[in-house]
């Protein structure tokens, strides 16, 4: 029997409505108990000093690209999960746009094997909605579910075929799997490479109109209303999108939504100077949109924070803006950006933690994101005062494509535990 006590920290466990000083007792890889601070625990256990720190359920990121198989030069399951645990994440769900696409049980199995070998964060594969992400025929969703997928998504590719989307929502209801959608009406988005507006006009870049996202969300909400499936909208980026989701929720529909740290931290201004590390899809939007996304997080319209961690090789970003790859790495910068919302717009800490733990767990029906007794001991210890500067060269990820380079951050995961095993420990963290 092995026992560890995480002492002296402030526990934030939204799943159980807990926010206060507790010691967390971990026994044989599971949470044994939360003790009132400084309670007598017999003194036999190994102890981790978390004083001054937050102790939260291991963070869960339901939107990452681990790039394996096929794009190992950008990221591997090993390097991606190493980045995850360094960022405080104990579970990640990885998108299907690998090569080959994760549209079969064989690829799902492969990803899970790679994750087991890496033995860092838990990895939950997301299967493709359509074969080859082509948006034409359903992939073998049932076979993939038996192999362990937790959702389906053609992420990166919008499902332009509304008939297919309808069938996907219907068919997945048999398995209780959510359909995660990248909402972009391609015929409206055209060849856009950034938000359409004053800045795109000034820079002479083609714009992606906000309506490209909103039109697809409106379509999918209309489909959802009739099908009874579960719809999860990835990386909401516009004020209109937030309004559509809010209204759908008020009608009681099974829709959930996520926001990415870049969409609540940066505006399109980051693109100025043709910064390819600020190129992503959906694009960074206006201050007004950022404000709306933050409000959506605050009022629960958007219940999940997910990174859309999208590693790309330097060569794919060190090019003309038009041809640069979309996306940024996010696992190692998400936490401080999320914590910043508590100060910048008064979102309660528990809401932020819930958006990175219990809420994503519920959407994917994972038994994680909680410090309930008996749950696997997935725990993140955060030093909320720790100041650090983003240096992409020090990322655990294989890729360096971040718009946050050089930015001052506050708050960092100092210890990450998966199933009772410490998988990440920042320098100079007290232990005994």
């Amino acid at each position: 029997m092995s026992e560890t006590i995480i002492r002296g920290g402030t526990v934030v466990d939204p799943a159980n409505g807990i926010h206060g000083r507790h010691d967390v007792v971990v026994r044989d890889g599971v949470i044994a108990a939360l003790l009132r601070a400084d309670a007598d625990d017999g003194g036999a256990a190994e102890s981790i000093d978390a004083s001054g720190c937050l102790v939260v359920p291991g963070l869960i990121d339901i939107h990452v690209h681990l790039r394996e198989p096929g794009y190992e030069y950008k990221e591997t399951v090993e390097s991606g999960t190493r980045a995850a645990v360094a960022g405080g994440f104990t579970s990640v769900a990885c998108m299907a746009n690998t090569n080959p696409v994760n549209d079969s049980a064989a690829v799902t199995d492969y990803i899970r094997e790679r994750a087991a070998a890496a033995a860092l964060a838990r990895v939950f594969p997301i299967g493709a909605v359509s074969k080859g992400l082509k948006g034409e025929e359903l992939a073998e969703i049932g076979e993939m579910q038996r192999a362990g997928i937790v959702a389906v998504s053609d992420d990166g590719m919008p499902i332009m075929n509304g008939g297919l989307m309808r069938r996907a929502l219907e068919y997945t209801s048999m398995f209780g799997l959510p359909v995660i959608v990248h909402e972009e009406e391609r015929t409206i988005a055209g060849e856009g490479v950034m938000n359409e507006g004053t800045l795109s006009l000034r820079l002479g870049l083609k714009g992606v109109h906000a309506a490209a996202e909103e039109a697809m969300i409106a379509r999918d909400i209309a489909l959802l209303e009739r099908t009874g499936g579960r719809l999860h909208i990835a990386h909401l980026s516009t004020a209109g999108s937030v309004d559509l989701v809010r209204a759908a929720k008020q009608r009681g529909l099974a829709v959930s939504a996520e926001a990415s740290p870049h969409h609540f931290s940066l505006t399109e201004d980051a693109v100025d100077g043709y910064n390819t590390n600020a190129k992503m899809n959906p694009p960074l939007r206006t201050a007004c949109d950022v404000e709306a996304v933050r409000r959506g997080l605050h009022d629960g319209t958007i219940e999940v924070i997910a990174t859309d961690h999208a590693p790309h090789h330097r060569d794919e970003k060190e090019v003309e803006f038009d041809v640069a790859a979309n996306g940024i790495v996010g696992l190692e910068t998400a936490l401080p950006l999320a914590l910043r919302l508590t100060e910048e717009c008064g979102i309660p800490l528990a809401t932020i933690v819930a958006a990175m733990t219990v809420n994503p767990a519920r959407i994917l029906r994972l038994p994680h994101g909680t410090l309930s007794a008996g749950a696997a001991a997935d725990i993140t210890v955060i030093d909320p005062a720790r100041r650090w500067t983003v240096e992409a060269a020090r990322f655990k990820s294989k890729s360096r494509n971040t718009p946050f380079e050089g930015m001052q951050m506050q708050g960092q995961a100092v210890l990450t535990m998966v199933g009772g095993r410490i998988v990440w420990r920042a320098d100079a963290v007290g232990g005994a």
Binding site: E196, G197, T198, L201, R202, L203, G204, L205, K206, G273, Y274, D315, E318, V319, E320, F321, D322, V323
Partner: protein
């Protein structure tokens, strides 16, 4: 030196003084092209490379003639003669050219920001000869020079710009500079090519007659025939019914209106032939002035180390304010 930039990437952000200095410098070069022997030794021993990833007649020839009239050696590469056809990246191509130590690289590229991308990574002066739908600074400078020659001023003029403003780098460069210089702008085109955000830059209207009313200057833009079929307008015929500059439309402008077109023209589409060739047209003056503008730009950028050295000896006080040139530049200056 009143123009303390290593590159010419665009006219956005240049001050009134800088723009005026560029135009004054260009003005001083116009006379050379009127001589019998059209050659001065100003850039003797300098090498200018032009790298064109898009088709061009006027701009490329104009830069080449400008460079040669100043005795620079001129090397001209196009995408079909460069390693782009072998899959080399823009940056690698430009780095290799820069390693041959030219004194300026002139770049035309379909991607907005391509010259900015290179300028951030290379020491060699980069001259933007058109980047996607973004800027075409030398074209706008020659437009401004042409207008100023005739009107003696730019501020207070009413200038109508007609056509595909959304996709036009010529329009953008002109808009940026003209707003800085105090002209008042009317932007005219179909709503599909006239996004609402344009209102920050000028008055917008979909009526050609209204837009050109009492205008001092009308700048026509080329309508890209490729826009047909992309639903910006149904057909070129219908476009020309509404936006072709005819004598009838010109009659709404001031009696001494000037009509500009950057070329290449689609006669009968955006501009009627009798207008293009008529008394108000200064289209050929624009082309002539293009040489002077490009001579000025090459003079200021390719000659920068020398000019800096001169201003160093002129005034120690100024030297304190100007950042020290990179060591390599200083050596070459000496």
């Amino acid at each position: 030196m009143p123009f303390a930039h290593r590159h010419l990437l665009g006219l956005e952000g240049l001050s009134r003084d800088e723009l005026t200095f560029l135009l004054d410098t260009a003005r001083s070069f116009t006379e050379i092209s009127e001589r019998d022997i059209k050659k001065v030794p100003t850039l003797r021993g300098k090498t200018v490379v032009s790298l064109f990833y898009e088709a061009s007649t006027r701009t490329r020839a104009s830069f080449e003639i400008a460079a040669k009239r100043m005795s620079a050696d001129f090397v001209s590469l196009t995408s079909s003669t460069s390693s782009a056809t072998k899959g080399e990246t823009l940056l690698d191509t430009a780095r290799n050219l820069a390693a041959m130590r030219p004194d300026a690289i002139i770049l035309r590229h379909a991607a907005a920001g391509a010259p900015h991308f290179l300028a951030a990574r290379l020491e060699c002066p980069i001259i933007n000869a058109g980047d996607g739908a973004h800027e075409h600074p030398t074209q706008a400078l020659l437009d401004l020079l042409t207008i100023r020659e005739r009107k003696r001023r730019l501020d207070g003029l009413t200038i109508a710009i007609v056509g595909d403003i959304l996709h036009s780098r010529v329009a953008r460069s002109n808009i940026f500079a003209l707003n800085t210089l105090g002209a008042s702008l009317r932007l005219i085109g179909p709503p599909t090519l006239l996004p609402p955000e344009l209102r920050a830059w000028g008055e917008t209207t979909t009526s050609l007659d209204e837009g050109v009313r009492d205008a001092d200057v009308i700048m026509m833009l080329r309508i890209q025939l490729e826009r047909q079929g992309k639903n910006f307008f149904p057909t070129v015929d219908e476009y020309s019914r509404y936006f072709c500059l005819t004598q009838r439309a010109v009659a709404h402008a001031k009696p001494d209106v000037m009509i500009l077109h950057p070329g290449p023209m689609n006669r009968g589409v955006e501009i009627a032939s009798d207008v293009a060739d008529g008394p108000y047209s200064v289209i050929m003056d624009q082309v002539t002035n293009g040489i002077a503008v490009r001579m000025a730009v090459l003079y200021l950028l390719a000659n920068r180390p020398k000019l800096e050295a001169e201003s160093d000896t002129e005034s120690a006080a100024v030297q304190d304010q100007v950042p020290a040139p990179a060591p390599r530049l200083r050596r070459r200056a000496g």
